[in-house]
């Protein structure tokens, strides 16, 4: 543990809060994630999980006083475009797809490839999308032509598009917001294997899920959010899953953590 202390975290949040009108959705969050680390984010509905990751992504601006660092550098005028540029990709709970549009348009949404004269490289994007789908997705036996619309896909295939998209841009950090929601058994297993492969590639991931049986096997650390604050920060190897479950139940009943 002594050498991880001097390593600069890939992402670090200091004192980050986010208030919507009267409601403080997250308050005074201190959080970090190191390279090659997978952090599980657990918490009840409304605990602030989605707000936290949307703040990291630059979709929400944190309240004044909160600071976000990427590899030790303070981020200013943060927005989604910049977040994706430096290598943070998110697989959103709501998939963030446009149903009527073709698969290739969805894959390159917000980061369209351009060729000569700044015009879109449509042929290149189609080809890349087709390659990604056959190489990485593996959710379907048949290859799916990239000109088809997302509307024609099943829930698992849509998730595949969202994951392949995060993968394509060689993200340093992949954030997955409830990626197993609505997936079948085999699709869930594939998704969990994908999260393991992120770690093997030396990249980091933040994994949000309701189901601790999905989270526990793949993560290194577990952060528990409760009503907008971090209730507990645990190293997985130091807590057996039974204690974790008891702790979560206790937290739900009493509002305080004790494992």
């Amino acid at each position: 543990m002594s050498d991880t202390a001097v390593v600069t975290p890939v992402i670090e949040l200091k004192n980050v809060s986010k208030t919507f009108g009267e409601v403080q959705s997250i308050k005074d969050i201190d959080f970090h994630i190191n390279a090659g680390e997978i952090v599980g984010l657990l918490g009840d509905n409304g605990a602030g999980k989605s707000t936290l990751i949307k703040t990291i992504m630059g979709f929400h601006t944190p309240d004044p006083g909160g600071e976000i660092y990427f590899k030790g550098e303070l981020l200013k005028d943060w927005n989604v475009h910049k977040a994706r540029d430096i290598g943070i990709e998110t697989v959103y709970q709501e998939r963030a797809l446009c149903d009527q549009q073709s698969i290739w348009r969805n894959m390159f949404m917000g980061r369209e490839r351009r060729g000569k004269l700044g015009l879109l490289d449509v042929a290149g994007m189609r080809k890349e999308a087709a390659r990604l789908m056959s190489e990485h997705m593996g959710f379907t036996s048949n290859a799916v032509h990239p000109e088809n619309t997302v509307m024609t896909m099943s829930g698992g295939e849509k998730q595949g598009v969202a994951i392949a998209r995060a993968l394509y841009f060689h993200a340093e950090v992949v954030i997955l917001d409830e990626p197993t929601m609505g997936l079948s058994l085999s699709e869930t297993k594939k998704t969990l294997n994908f999260i393991r492969s992120i770690k093997e590639a030396g990249k980091s991931a933040i994994f949000i899920d309701h189901n601790i049986f999905h989270v526990y096997p793949v993560v290194d650390r577990i952060i528990i959010l409760d009503r907008g604050s971090i209730a507990a920060s645990l190293v997985k190897d130091e807590i057996p899953i039974e204690n974790l479950m008891e702790g979560l139940q206790h937290l739900a009943r009493t509002g305080s953590w004790s494992a």
């Binding site: 446009c98 980061r111 088809n148 058994l185």
Partner: protein, 348 residues
């Protein structure tokens, strides 16, 4: 790992069964021509059918070029704007203020010209005025989040009011010989008397097709109209794209305003009145989705030609002029119904 496997096995997977039934088409191939361009083919067929009906009912009129030349001189007045309005409607918005923008930008033209500006400067002043008026609309819609259908009624009165006040309600003759070069470029007659404004329609159709289908801006127009939240989550700048589409309509309205004024050599303070419904009808008849996220420049081009043909053709075909509006409405309603039916077919 053992825990993982056991609990996964208990996970119900009801969701995926329903999904599997939804997926029918063979998606290893690109979607068929019918699936992709069914709507455009349908619109083209309606256009051809209407033309055939006119041809049969009044062959004497419709076999001579003069009716087509008349048609080619009047249709561009609204078709040029309709091409740009397609962008706004694909983003799921609407602009009702462009008739007033046509007139307001002509005020800038006459001011700059009267105060000794070059013709080119006067032209630019009009385009910039149109683009700024559009940017104002776009800011109110994109940044302030005011529904476009409401706020552009407001700005429509505002722009028209400013124009009437600036011109004190009177017009301005465009007969100065110094204006001739611009007049030639905008509304001159080309080979066989083809009106220049029709050439401009073709040029703009090609340019705007490229803008919509081959640029990031165009991509974002589709994505925002389809699902603005998704687009935003993936880093698309929704606000600037909306400002962009409204600016485009403003600039094109300014261009069309000059075309319409030079065509009659006079800037009427009521310029633009009567173009609103024709323009919007052209876009919707052309198959652009009123729900946003889908539409095409080709469709609008054909839609505009259909609307223009009806205007020019109904009377020429010997139909009682009192029936004009009814025929007009009939064609629009039928094409919209046809679109919904085709879209449902395509989706299943």
């Amino acid at each position: 790992m053992a825990i993982d496997e056991t609990y996964l096995a208990q996970e119900p997977s009801g969701d995926s069964r329903a999904d599997a039934e939804e997926v029918k088409a063979d998606r290893s191939k690109p979607p068929s021509v019918w699936r992709r361009f069914g709507l455009q083919i349908g619109i083209g067929a309606v256009g051809a059918l209407i033309w055939l009906l006119f041809l049969i009912s009044a062959p004497v009129v419709f076999l001579k070029p003069s009716i087509y030349l008349a048609f080619a001189s009047t249709t561009p007045l609204f078709l040029i704007i309709a091409l740009a309005l397609t962008f706004v409607i694909i983003t799921g918005e609407i602009d009702l203020s462009f008739p007033a923008v046509m007139a307001l930008s002509m005020v800038s033209f006459t001011w700059v010209f009267q105060n000794g500006g070059f013709l080119g400067m006067a032209f630019l002043a009009a385009i910039v005025t149109g683009a700024l008026a559009g940017a104002f609309n776009g800011y109110l819609v994109g940044k302030m989040g005011i529904p476009a259908v409401v706020i552009t009624i407001g700005t429509s009165f505002l722009f028209r009011g400013l124009e009437l006040a600036a011109m004190s309600g009177s017009g301005f003759p465009l007969t100065d010989p110094a204006m001739d070069p611009l007049k030639q470029v905008l509304v001159g007659r080309w080979f066989f008397g083809i009106p220049m404004q029709f050439i401009w329609v073709v040029i703009f159709a090609i340019l705007l097709w490229a803008l919509l289908n081959r640029t990031r801006f165009g991509s974002h127009v589709f994505l925002i109209g389809d699902n603005a939240t998704s687009a935003k989550l993936m880093g698309v700048n929704v606000m600037w794209t909306k400002v962009g589409v409204f600016m485009l309509v403003g600039a094109m309205a300014a261009f069309a305003g000059m075309v319409a004024s030079f065509e009659v050599s006079y800037f009427w303070p009521t310029l633009g009145e009567g173009t609103l419904l024709n323009t919007i009808a052209a876009v919707f008849v052309g198959g652009t989705s009123p729900f946003g996220g889908a539409g095409s420049i080709f469709g609008t081009l054909i839609g505009g030609l259909i609307i223009g043909a009806l205007n020019a053709g109904i009377v020429s075909a010997g139909i009682n002029a009192f029936w004009t509006q009814a025929v007009f409405g009939f064609v629009i309603v039928v094409s919209l119904i046809m679109q919904v039916v085709i879209q449902k077919r395509v989706r299943n």
